[in-house]
């Protein structure tokens, strides 16, 4: 729901780096978004394309790498990964004790620029 704010932050960060490096423009940006981060990829793409105009990212394509929610069970010791946005019990043994390792990511990996 706050994809516009997220798109805005992405554009601010990459525009800053683009100016600092003296590049002429950005052609693509790769971001990593966890499934449990509350961000809908389609909505983020839509927001990004709507607000990128008049920034150094105006010609850029946003590439989203989704990250599944994964963790390790403290009972059976095995690693798991699920399609849902949350984990209530270990999907392998049903145990209630586990630690979540991935799924909340919201970061920019890299960008492709023209000099």
């Amino acid at each position: 729901m706050h994809e516009v704010s997220i798109a805005q932050s992405i554009i601010e960060i990459v525009s800053g780096q683009c100016r600092k490096g003296g590049y002429s423009g950005i052609t693509s940006i790769r971001v990593r978004i966890g499934r449990a981060s509350g961000i809908m990829p389609d909505a983020l793409l839509f927001a990004f394309d709507a607000i990128k105009v008049e920034s150094p990212a105006t010609g850029a394509v946003l590439e989203i790498e989704e990250v599944c929610v994964s963790g390790r069970c403290r009972d059976c010791g095995r690693d798991f990964s699920v399609e849902e946005e949350y984990v209530l019990n270990c999907p392998l043994c049903g145990g209630p004790a586990f630690e979540i390792k991935t799924g909340r990511e919201m970061e920019i990996i890299d960008m492709e620029v023209t000099e």
Partner: protein, 215 residues
């Protein structure tokens, strides 16, 4: 040419939230970020908490997309209150709070409530410099909410179940809310209250006062 960026997208917000937190700590103010869906009763819970009395000097920041109805309700208690209108944004962010701080006598407060924009999704993602997040769920919203909006339940230290007086008129399963919410967040402290009857407000206010005094 490829350029490594490796930056958290909300880094700028998190940095300002840290600065807010530093200012709160310096002034000795305990800060609660109060979140819920629209109409769950955030302002009513604040009113009841203020009427109950906690022995603390309390200030309030009201966040709404538009209007100042909530701030006017709080103003009647004669305490410092600032209304933020987000002008469309679905959540408060750290910078909005930073800009509101100049209008609050921070050094004269023990506890600051930040009433977030009514929304079960976005406010959970944006830190504002709070010590603790508290969420409200009114029983009429239904028992499916913890699993539909897991992030909010995972991020909160306490869950206030409001409108408990309406339970007999609905099919809501309070034990399911408790079970799912605690599965998502085993440390969650749950209070059952009714702003209408006053049930549970005393217990909530006493716990909150204890948390604020602990800092």
């Amino acid at each position: 040419m490829k350029v490594k960026v490796v930056t958290k997208i909300l880094e700028a917000n998190d940095r300002i939230a840290l600065e807010n937190r530093r200012l709160f700590d310096k002034a000795g103010v305990f800060v609660v970020n109060l979140m819920s869906a629209p109409g769950a009763g955030k302002t009513s819970v604040l009113e009841k908490t203020l009427a109950q009395g906690t022995g603390l000097r309390i200030g309030v920041i009201e966040g709404d997309i538009a209007g100042s109805d909530d701030a006017e309700r709080i103003e009647k208690f004669g305490i410092p209150v600032v209304q933020i209108n987000t002008g469309g944004a679905c959540h408060l962010d750290a910078n909005m709070i930073y800009e509101a701080l100049g209008d609050l006598p921070l050094a004269g407060l023990d506890l600051l409530f930040i009433e977030n924009v009514g929304n079960l999704v976005c406010p959970a993602e944006f830190k504002v410099g709070e010590d603790m997040k508290v969420m409200l769920l009114s029983v009429t919203e239904g028992h499916d909410k913890p699993l539909k909006y897991p992030l909010m339940f995972q991020e909160s230290s306490a869950l206030i179940l409001n409108k408990m007086d309406l339970v007999p008129h609905t099919d809501v399963d309070i034990s399911k809310i408790r079970k799912d919410a605690l599965s998502l967040n085993p440390a969650l402290k749950i209070f059952e209250v009714s702003c209408r009857t006053g049930e549970g407000i005393g217990e909530w206010a006493a716990w909150l006062g204890g948390q604020a005094r602990k800092g």
